[in-house]
């Protein structure tokens, strides 16, 4: 029925709201069928003349460029459909429509259009905008990890244990795509069990215990035992070998250390040793002697094992004081007989004691989960369990729990601690596992402030607000202060002060990392594949040589690893010049089957995008964004600024070698005047993630800025586009610069319409190669960075482009950044009904000189962040998913005959 075709999500929801609007308009006085609603009347009177004047050449009178025509609405519903007007709003605001060569509406006319779209077509009430609806959010794995750290006091490496979360709208905290599967729930249950097992002590009193890593035993014997620390995370990262002392079977050795014992009593000493040999046999034998203060406790011979652990324990009566522990290794086999390596490893020495009951202590973490020792009677125990578990569940669920829940948890605990051999603590721990597996922990469930209200919109309640704030700013659960304020109903009142407090807390770095990591794709720097050799060769104009070397390498590799037949089959079609020169020699050598035949890997390139450099790049961007956030600087500095953060390695890659930046530590550096760096766009991170593995991609760079800074993404490309390399292939006699190749690439008018928007922007960054390094030449030719934006502004250098983006396009940037930040804050994509809220935040940014605080407080105080649709609204609405299901099923095309 609709006369225009525009792809947007949520069509079902739009229709529903339009229907609502129409009903509302009808009630407001327009007569029944046939008569115009006020929105339509206003359209005819105020808007249509503007459209006729400026748009009708292409979008009326039989013209419908881009599938848009303004004079073919068959019904009022079609006229008022938000999809169309959302696009009109975006395009006119960004200056994309009317095109730059055509006359444009005056400011007043533009405002008339915008007002009508927002308040009539969208039906937004500026005083009470629709807050939209956020699908209940599951904690993503980043949030899960930090929530567990705050709740349980331990670090659980969810990035190893859980599969990656899906993303939507560019972020991984979007409720709609955070699904749950049986496998994931199973993992949650296993994780809950592991976490509680690690964090919660299962008994009230334990024998004091210490573990001394083997590495503390040294030849000098000077190490003092600092006592046992358990800060280490678990879930796969520990490197146990670092903590061991390794001794060769064939070298005599004596290692020792001293430890302080405070109380006299019986101690149990446990030695954890391991023999680590080669997979193949070795005849070596050795004697190990262990002594405490000269008294021998162990004398034992060992032979070969490929990998075997041993444990020995002894009880000893000790007086208080210093104990010196010594291991001696005596070789029993002459070194001449050695075939393979064979080592004795001291994994650790454990000391338990005094074993006498009066010396037992409350275990670590006991006070975190238990307020006192468990009482004796069953009623007292049950009451205590209920109290403990009620409090724990309230913290975990981030809101108070009903008595019934506490009762059920207490019953769960009782079921365990009343079975023989189980402690009270074990029962409570079992119930805690249930809490961590509950949907109330795993999902962020929100309540309206007034559950009985009939209004379509309500504030979220204070507990939900506490969670919204803490997951937005900290990516973790609310702390005690937020919950306490929410409990008193005073959080909303003190919101501004709380946001300031939260921003000052180091946990706010999570917002910086998680928001900018995804908005600017900084996270991708870690995994992106860049071939340094190819990139540098292009800068130096030595691609041909490099390609030749590579072809050789591949040919030889293919020979070595494939069947000869397969390799020949593949190589016979290889037309890369230069292969032939290396080919026959390679083949001949290959047939002889010699090891290492002519296997010549080209020398390492002078700069590699290695781990350290990637880390430095990511840190630069994170520290820089953090400085904008924490120093409350204008957000336009994200585009253009006079400082950045560097370490020696990154400074070198940037060619900033005269600033005296040395060492691995990242620090703030004022950029020399005239430096092309400054602002995230010329950070290595952004330049790298918008490149291909072997060269820059002006298209990706242009698109990156259009999507993430100007908010005017171009439509996706049509199928069958040739690659840039394919274009180059057509010109055989010389190598094209990137700019020339792009020109040929977009010569079709259809391509040019979008590429005109992207390429000029992307090409301005051509002085930066695919690793973010400055270069003066590409393929031995000068680089031309001059260009023009679709909106008409011209620039010669990247510095000028950045200035234009930060000044003339400041408004577009504010709006784009606001949309991204709001998406991250809400956990849902923004839609047409958010336009007013976004405009209000942009207005605050304009008034507040673009300071970050204006953005942050604008988001926090916005309707979508503060409010929710009530169930009254939701129940009345058709379920959008249901509406969609019909569409999806209908869209299944009949199969071919």
């Amino acid at each position: 029925m609709l006369e225009f075709q525009i792809n947007t999500p949520n069509r079902g929801l739009h229709l529903h709201l339009v229907a609502r609007l129409m009903v509302a308009a009808a009630i407001m006085g327009a007569s029944v069928s046939g008569a115009e609603t006020p929105a339509v009347t206003q359209f005819r009177r105020e808007v249509e003349p503007v459209l006729k004047e400026y748009c009708s050449d292409c979008h009326a009178d039989g013209e419908s460029k881009g599938g848009v025509a303004f004079d073919v609405f068959k019904t009022d519903a079609a006229l008022l459909h938000p999809d169309l007007w959302f696009n009109v709003l975006k395009n006119t605001r960004a200056g994309l429509m009317p095109p730059s060569k055509k006359p444009r509406p005056s400011v007043a006319e533009q405002q008339t259009l915008e007002r009508w779209i927002k308040y009539a077509a969208f039906g937004i009430d500026p005083k009470n905008p629709d807050p939209g609806r956020v699908t209940v959010r599951r904690l993503n794995r980043v949030e899960y990890r930090s929530t567990i750290r705050d709740l349980m006091g331990i670090d659980f490496n969810s990035e190893v244990e859980f599969p990656p979360d899906d993303t939507g709208y560019g972020f991984d905290n979007i409720g709609d795509v955070l699904t749950i599967s049986p496998m994931l729930l199973e993992k949650y249950m296993a994780a809950a069990k592991d976490i509680v097992g690690e964090a919660v002590p299962l008994v009230g009193k334990v024998v004091p215990e210490r573990s001394i890593p083997g590495s503390r035993f040294t030849a000098a014997g000077t190490a003092q035992d600092p006592g046992m620390g358990r800060g280490r995370g678990f879930g796969g990262r520990a490197n146990p070998q670092e903590a061991m002392r390794t001794m060769n079977y064939y070298e005599p050795a004596t290692v020792s250390m001293a430890t302080q014992v405070d109380k006299a009593g019986t101690y149990r000493i446990t030695l954890d040793l391991a023999v680590k040999g080669n997979f193949d046999f070795d005849p070596g034998r050795c004697l190990i002697v262990f002594k405490v203060d000269g008294r021998e406790l162990l004398r034992q011979e060992f032979g070969w094992y490929d990998n075997k652990s041993f444990s020995f324990d002894f009880d000893a009566k000790w007086e208080a004081g210093e104990k010196k522990m010594t291991f001696e290794l005596e070789p029993l086999t002459p070194v001449e007989k050695k075939i393979n390596s064979l080592d004795m490893r001291i994994a650790r020495v454990r000391l338990q004691g005094p074993l006498e009951k009066e010396h037992w202590i409350t275990p670590k973490n006991h006070e975190r989960f238990f307020t006192r020792q468990a009482p004796d009677g069953s009623a007292g125990r049950r009451a205590y369990a209920k109290e403990l578990l009620g409090n724990f569940a309230a913290r975990a669920f981030r809101r108070p729990v009903e008595t019934a829940t506490a009762d059920r948890l207490a019953a769960l605990a009782e079921g365990v601690y009343t079975t023989p051999g189980k402690s009270f603590e074990a029962g409570v721990a079992h119930a805690m596992v249930a809490v961590l597996a509950s949907p109330r922990f795993l999902f962020r469930l929100e309540e309206p402030a007034d559950a009985t209200a009939k209004d379509p919109v309500s504030d979220v309640d204070e507990y939900a607000l506490a969670s919204r704030l803490s997951y937005f700013l900290w990516s973790t659960m609310p702390d005690d202060e937020l919950i306490a304020l929410a409990g008193k109903g005073e959080l909303r009142k003190n919101q501004a002060a709380q946001v300031r407090r939260m921003l000052a807390d180091p946990r706010s770095e999570k917002m910086v990392q998680n928001f900018s990591g995804q908005w600017l794709q900084t996270r991708d720097v870690e995994g992106i594949a860049i071939n340094a050799r190819a990139v540098l060769a292009r800068d130096d104009g030595t691609e041909k040589q490099a390609r030749q070397q590579q072809a050789e390498f591949r040919a030889q590799l293919a020979l070595r690893t494939n069947s000869l037949q397969g390799a020949v089959g593949l190589l016979s079609t290889n037309t890369v010049g230069g292969t032939n020169a290396a080919g026959p020699a390679g083949f001949a050598a290959g047939k002889k089957g010699k090891q290492g035949f002519g296997f010549r890997r080209p020398v390492a390139p002078r700069v590699e995008l290695d781990r350290e450099l990637r880390d430095a790049m990511r840190n630069e961007t994170e520290m820089f964004v953090s400085s904008i956030v924490h120093e409350n600087r204008p957000v336009t500095e994200l585009i253009d600024s006079g400082y950045t953060f560097l370490n020696e390695k990154l400074a070198k890659v940037y060619g900033l070698t005269n600033l005296g930046v040395t060492g691995t530590e990242m620090r703030r550096v004022a950029l020399p005047s005239g430096s092309p760096r400054g602002g995230v766009l010329t950070h290595g991170s952004a330049l790298v993630v918008t490149s291909n593995p072997d060269r820059t991609s002006p298209v990706k760079r242009g698109l990156f800025i259009l999507e993430n800074f100007l908010g005017t993404p171009v439509p996706p490309p049509p199928p069958n586009i040739p690659s840039l390399e394919a274009t180059e292939q057509d010109i055989k006699d010389r190598e094209l610069t990137m700019r020339e190749a792009m020109q040929i690439h977009r010569e079709k008018p259809l391509c040019a319409s979008c590429h005109a928007r992207m390429d000029g922007i992307g090409l301005a960054f051509e002085n930066f190669n695919a690793m973010g390094m400055w270069r003066d030449k590409e393929r031995n030719q000068e680089i031309d960075t001059a260009g023009k934006l679709i909106t008409g502004e011209t620039f010669n250098t990247v510095a000028e482009l950045k200035r234009i983006l930060a000044t003339e396009h400041r408004g577009d940037f504010y709006r784009c950044l606001t949309e991204k930040f709001l998406t991250y804050a809400l956990g849902r994509g923004t839609d047409y009904y958010d336009v007013e809220s976004i405009d209000q935040i942009v207005g605050r940014l304009e008034k507040g000189n673009g300071k970050f605080s204006a953005l942050l407080m604008g988001v926090v105080e916005s309707a979508p962040f503060q409010k929710m649709r009530t169930r009254a609204t939701e129940t009345a609405s058709a379920d959008p998913t249901e509406a969609h299901n019909g569409v999806a099923r209908g869209a299944v095309k009949p199969a071919k005959p």
Binding site: P9, V136, P163, P164, D166, T167, Y169, G170, D176, T179, I180, P182, M183, L184, A190, K193, D194, G197, E198, L202, G236, F279, R408, L412, H430, A434, P439, R440, F443, Q518, Q521, R523, D524, G527, A529, N531, A534, R554, L557, T561, G566, G569, L570, N574, V576, P693, D694, P716, N720, P722, A726, Q729, G829, E874, H884, A888, A891, V892, A895, K896
Partner: protein, 467 residues
């Protein structure tokens, strides 16, 4: 003395870390030398009585797997020349399969038209991935309301999944995910998930071989694994009761998509309950080997380990249905191991430039070698009926893109390996008139004993030419 299972597990992890992959594979080799099941704790064949359909020969079950390779393949190197039948010449890309040729069919003429742009425009990669096993048009959305269809593996699993401890197994060798959007306005879910339990619930695949192993067989050393698994399941039961009640209470207050989320949670709980109940009936196998130690940094090893996990799951009859992504659709992985610095996806848009075409062929060939290694192992592994595990399986290998250069979705590169326990005739090049890929899936589903599936996605019938 140390009763904390987690600490034990950490110690076990330390031990594991020191084990080389070679050692792991040696263990696997030892298992494979024996007929399936016999090397493990006694297997109760009553789980698969001979009378049941989907059970081949002397009570050996039929297994089904789908292995996905992204970005299509170079058609000229994929398709055998000449006529259909037994005497086809092995094309270059398929050469690594020479040793298992007798157990495979190259099938031409299969289409996935719902991956065509249709009204949805760009996004052929997301569509190729999202439609491959579902056969339906997927909803174009960046985030909210993802909507595909139920995938064939899950359709079958819902019928025969109760016969094994795991209804199905979802694996991936692609552990890196992009930040930001995926393909032209499609959610990343479509590219990273093959299996869909419902149109809105993708089954996220597991990338970590250690976690696959522990999920199948329990944690800890071989000696303590079965015990650990049992203990964990017993403890789970009371917790499941609690969270089920919690979820029901919460769900009553929700509607729309929120309710859907809780539905996902509740179905997941029910599934775990069923598994516990099953574990009481069906003994757990205990492979005589250490668990692998995690995701290897080397891609080839990663694929090898994940393939081993699939083989083990089939061999021990822990499941009969599996899906595995070699890489997510649209993958732009570089193959430095064979000297290619360009990304796979970039390369596939070669516009017939010979150098790029050749490089893609090398990638196709490389992936095929990984498949061949897996199939050869399947062939060497004896099943309970004395046949090879491969013989008793149906393994589809292929892509939802045919020609990656032009994003075509007709005449897809599809291989069917294994004979489904003798139901299919291997060693052939099969040409069919253009039919939906889903027709093949229906014929496979029948062999597993699924009943009453009239249609799947865009299917128009069965593909009995393979029998």
């Amino acid at each position: 003395m140390n009763t904390n299972p987690l600490l034990n597990r950490n110690l076990a992890a330390e031990r594991m870390a020191s084990l080389s992959r070679r050692r792991f594979l040696r263990g696997l080799g030892a298992c494979m030398a024996l007929p399936a099941f016999e090397s493990f704790s006694p297997f109760n064949l009553s789980a698969a009585p001979a009378a049941l359909p989907g059970v081949a020969g002397k009570a050996a079950p039929v297994r089904m797997a789908f292995i996905y390779v992204p970005n299509g393949t170079i058609p000229s190197a994929w398709w055998p020349g000449g006529d259909a039948g037994k005497d086809f010449v092995m094309p270059p890309t398929l050469e690594p399969l020479a040793k298992v040729r007798h157990e495979m069919q190259v099938i031409s003429g299969l289409d996935d038209i719902n991956a065509d742009p249709g009204p949805d425009g760009a996004g052929d990669h997301a569509r190729a991935g999202g439609t491959f096993l579902t056969g339906v048009r997927i909803k174009k959305t960046a985030g909210s309301d993802i909507y595909a269809g139920v995938s064939i593996d899950q359709v079958v699993a819902s019928q025969i999944g109760h016969l094994t401890r795991f209804a199905s197994l979802e694996l991936t060798c692609d552990s890196v995910r992009k930040a930001g959007n995926c393909d032209s306005g499609y959610s990343c879910s479509y590219e990273y998930n093959l299996a869909w339990r419902s149109p809105t619930q993708p089954m996220s695949p597991e990338p970590n071989p250690r976690l696959v192993f522990e999920r199948l067989f329990g944690t800890g050393s071989p000696g303590e694994r079965v015990q650990n698994l049992k203990r964990r399941q017993q403890e789970q039961q009371s917790i499941l009761d609690f969270v089920m009640e919690d979820a029901n209470a919460v769900q009553r207050k929700l509607n729309g998509r929120d309710r859907q989320k809780l539905d996902q949670y509740l179905t997941s709980i029910r599934e775990i309950e069923q598994r516990i109940e099953k574990a009481e009936r069906m003994p757990v196998s205990n492979p005589a080997m250490e668990a692998p130690s995690g995701i290897p940094s080397n891609f080839e090893e990663h694929i090898a380990l994940m393939s081993d996990m699939m083989l083990l799951a089939f061999q021990t009859d822990s499941t009969r249905i599996a899906t595995m992504l070699f890489a997510g659709e649209g993958s732009n992985r570089t193959f430095t191991e064979i000297g290619l610095s360009e990304g796979h996806h970039n390369l596939t848009h070669h516009r017939n430039v010979q150098d790029s075409v050749d490089k893609v062929k090398q990638i196709d060939f490389w992936y095929m070698k990984q498949l061949a290694k897996f199939l050869e192992k399947m062939e060497q592994t004896k099943d309970v009926d004395g046949q090879s595990l491969l013989h008793n399986s149906m393994i589809v290998y292929g892509s939802g893109n045919a020609d990656g250069n032009r994003h075509t979705h007709t005449n897809l590169p599809i291989l069917l390996a294994g004979s489904g326990g003798g139901a299919f005739k291997g060693g052939r090049y099969v040409k069919t008139k253009p039919v939906p890929l889903t027709n093949l899936f229906l014929s496979m589903a029948d062999r597993l004993g699924a009943k009453g599936i009239e249609r799947h996605g865009d299917s128009t019938g069965r593909l009995e030419i393979i029998a």
